[in-house]
């Protein structure tokens, strides 16, 4: 897998999600991703950024354009230094939430992208990496 471009963005407040979504969209357009896939990717990104803000008071995101064979895609990394998730399988269940939300964020985001990877260490933080291929 080759990384064609790399861009990082800090998320510390609510409004930061707007330029972040715009930046993701820009990259998605660059790899000629269709509108439906773009929308899915940005929605998933929006869910993950919200989690970062809500549970870890923000964090760092990485937006990459990647290439594998004939496929181009976007890889997004969401890294925070929050409380971490003790039981990841439980957190990935539909309808489970420790906050007062619908509990759709993580499982929903996973359904919207092609690759979804979550690692977490309690009291250290959580990192989520998602990939959406342009034709995926």
């Amino acid at each position: 897998m080759i990384t064609l471009s790399k861009d990082s963005m800090k998320i510390v407040k609510d409004q930061d999600v707007v330029p972040f979504r715009a930046r993701v969209k820009e990259c998605a357009v660059k790899v000629k991703m269709g509108l439906v896939n773009q929308t899915k990717l940005i929605t998933a990104a929006s869910e993950l950024v919200r989690n970062m803000l809500k549970y870890a008071r923000g964090g760092e995101t990485l937006i990459e354009i990647i290439n594998q064979g004939r496929d181009n895609g976007i890889r997004l990394t969401f890294k925070d230094n929050g409380p971490g998730i003790a039981d990841i399988p439980l957190a990935m269940k539909d309808g489970y939430s420790t906050g007062k939300s619908l509990g759709l964020g993580l499982p929903g985001a996973k359904r919207l992208v092609n690759e979804f990877n979550i690692t977490s260490v309690v009291d250290k933080g959580t990192t989520v990496v998602i990939v959406k291929w342009a034709n995926g």
């Binding site: 609510d14 715009a22 619908l102």
Partner: protein
Amino acid sequence: MDKIPILKLGSFLLVTIQVDLYDRLALNLEADLVQMVNKTNAKGVLIDISAVSIVDSFMGRIFGNIASMCKILDAETVVVGMQPAVAITLIELGLPLAGVHTALDIDKGMNLLSSKIEKDLSDEDEPDDEDQ
């Protein structure tokens, strides 16, 4: 502080969302809208999201909340103009927006609201009504 304008249109309220929503803005809209329904005695609320390219679980929940709150205040809510890509994404996300009425465009949304309100009125019709 950004604010989404709420327009009064006869007995309806019209909200056209033309900016990228973030959580605080959506929450403010919810509060403003419910207060406006109360203040203006509106019977219906139209929310035009044709310029909104992203609806995630939080915004979906806000639309649901607005509809439920307005319902308690005796106003119907219709969300109009959803982009097809947004509809596809919402379903895959697992948020079917149950309880929120939708229409393809503002015209159809207006018709839907009018018919709902008429139906409510005729249901409540009683022979000893004062103004009959």
